[in-house]
């Protein structure tokens, strides 16, 4: 059995002292990052990447550390959703709907434990799904030529822009911004510089880590200064924590269904964890016979979104590792990490560097148990973190991002560029233009252009080559549907608003 051989290889790497301790550190850091309002998985991972380089970790170790942070942040996001009615990160938004009312009824401890267990169910099963699905998809990816890759990138941009956004034109413009930025610098095929305006600093192009940290972390500083005072939520007292076995057993099918829905949403390129938790919650609500209690502290409304978003987090790793196309904002950040480490995700990764993939999968299986312990028996420690005031936290985030980027390049120009991206991110946020497509555009723009040019070289300039195989036709059709369908489905996809204080 190939799978077991691979897993044995993976566990051989995962069970070394270094890897295991990195995973545990990552889980703890991640849970803290997730719990802090304003710091989510994507900006948390983004500001930690430059620092991870200074530790001189090898590829597997760096990936293990960052993916544990990612998983941890997905678990931790629910803590402030439930106790403060402020989502710790975007995917945890849906958890506020029933989590906070449940906490207000005096069942805060039960809500935390129940959502912790459903996070575990979602994340653990999704990791198993990743383990089974990724090798299959990697085999399919062997049939991908430049024309198919071009269509695949297009699909990622279209689904991201279609489902993720409220205004198609706005998310498409975000993609164009990212693609435009990715073209700055030396053109690899001809060696000429493009769009640098003669600025020497731009000859190497715009470093995507600078863009990511700017758009995620620096933007957050501006947003916090603007919204200061508005988010002063009344915390809910947390009593003694016991395990509500009855509730956990009562929601077991809810968790399983939400896991499946979330995992599928995660695997779709460009869709991500927020969509996973949203679909999980909505499908559970429409399935329930008695759904009037949803929104007032229903246990199913607590279990479903948490299982859904954690399953989506695992699912989003599948296209990232097998095709090099991230399924969400945070996996885009992880892709940036891989690219900086000189690892090209894709089918070759599974054949040539199996230790990276299987080491990661095995560690994630272990990390889920670590996270279960951190988030159920030890959850009380993490609730203390919510008391850190924003006036301390946000300057800290700013300083860490500056030093991280500064340590990468040592140039003040990159710092200024990062601030510029922060201002851009704030403007985009105000105008409701999503920032994740910009990042995806910067990350994938180079690859997209190269695959288009290779396809044109192969076909000697014949455009019909782009629709030459069933795979590419299928991808083009899916891209078109992914972009257009949400326009008609908009009225069904309205997000319910969380209740007020």
């Amino acid at each position: 059995m190939e799978l077991f051989q691979n897993l044995a290889l993976g566990f051989g790497i995962a069970l070394t002292l270094t890897t295991l301790s990195l995973a545990i550190i990552g889980c703890i850091l991640g849970t803290i990052i997730g719990a802090l309002p304003g710091l989510g998985p994507s900006n948390g991972v983004a500001i930690l990447i430059p620092l991870a380089f200074t530790l001189e970790l090898d590829a597997t170790q760096a990936l293990v550390l960052m993916t544990s942070v990612y998983y941890g942040a997905m678990y931790g996001g629910r803590i402030s959703s439930i106790l403060l009615n402020i989502p710790g990160d975007e995917p945890a938004m849906m958890t506020t709907l029933d989590g906070y009312p449940m906490a207000k009824k005096g069942r805060a401890g039960d809500a935390l434990v129940l959502s912790g267990v459903s996070s575990f169910v979602g994340a653990f099963l999704a990791t198993i799904g990743l383990m089974l699905l990724a090798p299959i998809l990697a085999r399919v990816a062997f049939y991908f030529g430049p024309a198919e890759y071009f269509a695949l990138y297009l699909l990622a941009f279209c689904t991201l822009g279609g489902i993720g956004a409220e205004n198609q034109a706005k998310s498409a413009i975000a993609v164009c911004l990212g693609l435009g930025i990715s073209m700055i610098g030396v053109d690899n095929s001809t060696g000429m510089t493009r769009f640098t305006g003669g600025n020497l600093h731009l000859y190497d192009g715009v470093d995507f880590l600078v863009a990511i940290v700017g758009l995620f972390a620096v933007t957050e500083i501006f947003v916090f200064i603007e919204s200061r005072g508005k988010d002063s939520a009344i915390g809910v007292k947390l009593g003694k924590i016991s395990i509500p076995i009855k509730d956990i057993l009562a929601t077991k099918w809810t968790m399983l269904r939400a896991t499946i829905v979330g995992f599928i949403a995660g695997v779709l390129p460009g869709a991500g964890a927020s969509l996973g938790s949203f679909l999980a919650y909505m499908s559970e609500k429409s399935l329930a016979k008695e759904n009037k209690t949803f929104g007032t502290g229903d246990i199913r409304g607590v279990a479903a979104p948490e299982a859904g978003n954690n399953a989506a987090a695992g699912g989003a790793l599948v296209p990232m590792l097998t095709l090099g196309v991230p399924g969400s904002g945070t996996t885009a950040v992880l892709l940036a990490l891989l690219m900086t480490l000189n690892i090209t995700p894709g089918p070759l990764l599974f054949n040539e560097r199996p230790e990276v993939v299987w080491g990661l999968i095995a560690t994630l299986l272990i990390a889920n148990f670590v996270l279960l312990i951190l988030n159920v028996p030890l959850v009380k420690i993490f609730t203390k973190i919510l008391q850190v005031p924003a006036s301390f936290l946000l300057p800290g985030v700013a300083m860490v991002s500056f030093v991280g980027i500064y340590s990468l390049s040592g140039s003040y120009f990159d710092l200024l560029l990062m601030i510029g991206f922060g201002v851009l991110g704030f403007t985009l946020r105000k105008l409701k233009i999503p920032a994740v497509p910009v990042i995806l555009g910067i990350l994938l723009g180079g690859h997209m252009e190269v695959s288009l040019r290779r396809a044109m070289v192969l076909s000697n300039g014949d455009w019909t080559y782009l629709f030459n195989s069933y795979i590419s036709i299928g991808l083009w059709v899916a891209a078109f549907i992914g972009f257009v369908a949400p326009i008609f489905l908009r009225s069904y996809l309205k997000k319910p608003t969380p209740i007020g204080q």
């Binding site: 413009i173 200064i225 200061r228 924003a390 800290g396 300083m399």
Partner: protein
């Protein structure tokens, strides 16, 4: 209105991008697509989208009041000054000042923000220098020489 303004900026940006792409010279040995055509496609798409934004704008977002805008600009200037001063003035002093300033902008309390500046500057320096081994200079260059 905001959408229209931003859409117009993007239209100009897309046109500039397009024009500067036409000025690129394709070397004679270039591939069939060359360095120009992908920029053309992207700027074309950007043009369609930004015109859509102008023609079908969303409702205006709630822009912050003048006081908050001044605060945001102050934060921006603090960050820019911080970027320039890291190299010349070392780590400790600029970090303490910048984080105290940002902290004051979020919560205007003199004592709290001074404490934030001091604690952050010292603790981050310890972590970065001794924990992660970054080469940071604690004090201004001209003092150490």
């Amino acid at each position: 209105m905001s959408d229209r303004i931003f859409g117009s900026i993007l239209t100009i940006l897309a046109l500039t991008f397009f024009v500067s792409a036409t000025k690129l010279e394709s070397p004679f040995f270039a591939d069939p697509l060359g360095p120009k055509n992908f920029p053309f496609i992207v700027s074309g798409a950007a043009l369609i989208c930004s015109l859509t934004m102008i023609l079908k704008p969303d409702k205006d977002p709630l822009w912050p009041d003048t006081k908050t805008i001044i605060k945001l600009f102050t934060a921006l200037i603090v960050l820019i000054l911080y970027a320039f001063s890291l190299k010349t003035f070392g780590f400790l002093l600029p970090t303490a000042l910048a984080s105290a300033a940002l902290s004051y902008l979020i919560q205007p309390s003199f004592y709290k923000s001074s404490a934030t500046g001091l604690i952050l500057s010292l603790s981050l320096f310890t972590i970065f220098k001794f924990g992660l081994g970054l080469s940071l200079f604690p004090f201004p260059r001209f003092i150490i020489g």
